[in-house]
């Protein structure tokens, strides 16, 4: 449960939730033009769930089975908090933020 492990978790959870969010019509419209195509929405949804799963795996690997699940749920909540803030106030930042979260996750993984 080092800060870098929490950061890794947060970054992956954020990227995953952002993809899930963008897979929804209303939120996709707020950033891109129009609703996502069927295929695009499905791809985003898959990416999102994979991100969340990766976050879980990262939590369990870096913080073991004892704390991992707790930390994972905590990170999902924290990431969702940031994401909803962005959706409401700065929707355009979501995409760059989600993309930036990936190298951040890699850096955090390297530090852990």
């Amino acid at each position: 449960m080092t800060p870098s492990s929490v950061a890794l978790n947060l970054a992956l959870s954020f990227a995953g939730l952002a993809a899930l969010c963008l897979a929804m019509d209303r939120h996709h419209r707020a950033i891109f033009h129009g609703a996502p195509s069927r295929a695009r929405a499905r791809a985003l949804r898959w990416t999102g769930w994979c991100g969340i799963a990766a976050s879980f795996a990262a939590a369990v690997i870096t913080a073991d089975w004892n704390f991992g699940p707790v930390q994972w749920i905590g990170s999902l909540t924290g990431a969702a908090l940031i994401l909803v803030g962005l959706v409401s106030y700065r929707p355009r930042w979501i995409r760059p933020a989600a993309l930036a979260a990936l190298p951040l996750a890699a850096a955090a993984a390297f530090l852990t």
């Binding site: 929804m24 930390q71 969702a80």
Partner: protein, 506 residues
């Protein structure tokens, strides 16, 4: 039928949430603060500096004090200095029925501390789980309210049909009522795992007060035996009735420490001075979720080990993990921040729910609100802003009350309840939008004043940078909220309620 079920759950959510909301708001806010209990305690005793004292020596200093001041006690407890609490805490029970008594000693000298008398973070902790009332009464009120909150949570989940569709949505630009509903949903849903976890585990911490019937049937009410059998406490050894000289504590502690890797936390001496006296070395929780403390128990006179506690059976492990999850002692700084934020969101869910109840029932323009609505509005104000005002006043009192004041720690508590009560009276007398703004601003100013007052009245300046930053952040958040409230008005009263909104008020 399905519609009917959802409707009845909506009704249940609304009313269960309302009746339990005020108490649970106080419980959530003070509980959230309790995640930083030790930091609060440190801040509230600015005279203290970190002290490096051998735990065994500290235990002996505590025991020496108790030998003079509580020679007839049935149990002594000595908590040894920790990094975040550089003091020796001594506690004793004169009999099993008597209330626990305590004193705080200087770690270096073993004499009563010269630091200001204060309950520190323990004050808010006691508000959290027993409202600073008599334990039986306070714990039952908190436990029953938490039970109602659990019902409100479950019925709220059933009610909120668009739980996933609205997951990322927070429409801040719509009507007041819509905004409050979104804020309620969003803080409620985002941290839902936390809310369910913290409420259930919180009830479990009071389990044997609220639900003693398992112990009553299987143990004929002998709770002590239950705790012994689960491996949480060593068996009680009856006094022999003749005095005997006990061994010095420090070597015993050193022997115990050789077996356990965690640092020593507390020493418990049962039947001190008696030939059958026992000494238990209690260690800090090992890394893990469960709330359990390894113990090594010695015969005080001979020094023979009579018990070692450490491992638990599976369900007992789950049980103590529930307690551990609730207290989050295992959480490092980063995870602790997340727990804290979840606690803030829980408090916000309750607060927005309470406000939503009142907003959804706002009378048409030109008609006066009835008594019920006025009452709820007043209590909302008095609780949601009154409690922060009380907490800020409590912190300020810690710095402003004279250090030599008689019963100083009690006075601090008095200031807390006095300020809260005053705010509640103002809220009940003037439950208006304007009062929200004024009281919000007052609360914000009080919090912003704390770092300043602290720097002016102690020699520590801005040593407690984290605490100061937190106070400023809370102050700014309150100021921002007060501004927000003063902007929102009107539209909800003229817009006809649409389907989801009538659900919210049903």
């Amino acid at each position: 039928m399905k519609q009917g079920f959802r409707q009845s759950m909506a009704w249940l959510h609304t009313w269960a949430g309302l009746v339990t909301g005020w108490v649970m708001f106080a419980v959530f806010v003070t509980g959230t603060a309790t995640y930083y209990r030790t930091d609060i305690s440190l801040w509230m005793r600015p005279e203290l500096r970190a002290a490096a004292v051998e735990p065994g020596i500290a235990a002996e200093r505590g025991a020496a004090y108790l030998k003079v001041h509580a020679p007839k006690a049935v149990s002594w407890f000595v908590s040894v200095p920790q990094e975040d609490r550089p003091l020796i805490g001594v506690y004793w029970l004169d009999s099993f029925e008597a209330p626990i008594q305590q004193a705080t000693l200087d770690a270096e000298t073993g004499a009563p501390t010269t630091a200001r008398a204060t309950q520190g973070g323990d004050f808010l902790y006691r508000v959290h789980y027993e409202l600073q009332m008599m334990p039986e009464v306070g714990r039952w009120i908190v436990g029953a309210s938490a039970m109602v909150l659990l019902v409100a949570l479950v019925s709220g989940i059933v009610t909120h049909r668009r739980i996933f569709a609205d997951f990322f949505t927070f429409r801040r630009d719509r009507s007041a009522q819509r905004g409050w509903l979104d804020a309620h949903n969003f803080t409620g849903v985002l941290a839902l795992p936390f809310h369910l976890m913290i409420t259930y585990t919180g009830i479990v911490t009071l389990a044997f007060t609220l639900m003693p019937w398992g112990v009553a049937s299987a143990y004929k009410g002998d709770a002590m035996r239950f705790f012994v059998e689960t491996g949480q406490t060593p068996a009680w050894r009856a006094a022999a009735g003749r005095p005997a000289e006990a061994l010095p504590l420090a070597p015993l502690m050193a022997r115990a420490q050789a077996e356990v890797s965690e640092p020593l936390e507390m020493v418990i001496v049962n039947n001190p001075g008696d030939a059958a006296s026992t000494v238990a070395a209690v260690f800090e929780e090992p890394k893990g979720l469960a709330h359990r403390h390894p113990q090594v128990v010695f015969e005080a006179v001979s020094g023979a080990v009579i018990a070692r506690l450490g491992t638990l059976k599976p369900v007992a492990h789950v049980f103590t993990s529930f307690l551990g999850l609730h207290e989050a002692h295992f959480a490092g700084p980063a995870l602790r921040v997340l727990f804290f934020l979840c606690g803030v969101m829980g408090s916000a869910t309750i607060a927005t729910g309470l406000v939503l109840w009142a907003v959804a029932r706002a009378p048409k323009p030109g008609t006066a609100p009835d008594f019920g609505l006025r009452f709820v509005r007043g209590l909302n104000l008095g609780t949601i802003l009154g409690l922060p005002i009380g907490i800020a006043a409590f912190f300020l009192a810690n710095r402003l009350l004279p250090v030599a004041l008689e019963a100083r720690a009690t006075w601090e508590g008095g200031v807390f309840f006095g300020a809260w009560g005053l705010a509640a009276v103002v809220g009940l007398l003037r439950p208006h939008d304007r009062t929200w703004r004024e009281m919000g601003t007052a609360a914000a100013l009080l919090f912003l004043a704390i770092p300043l007052v602290s720097a002016l009245t102690t020699d520590r300046g801005f040593d407690f940078i984290g605490f100061d930053a937190a106070m400023i952040a809370i102050g700014l958040a309150l100021a921002w909220g007060a501004r927000k409230v003063s902007r929102y008005r009107g539209p909800a009263r003229t817009r006809p309620a649409t389907a989801p909104e009538s659900l919210a008020r049903a």
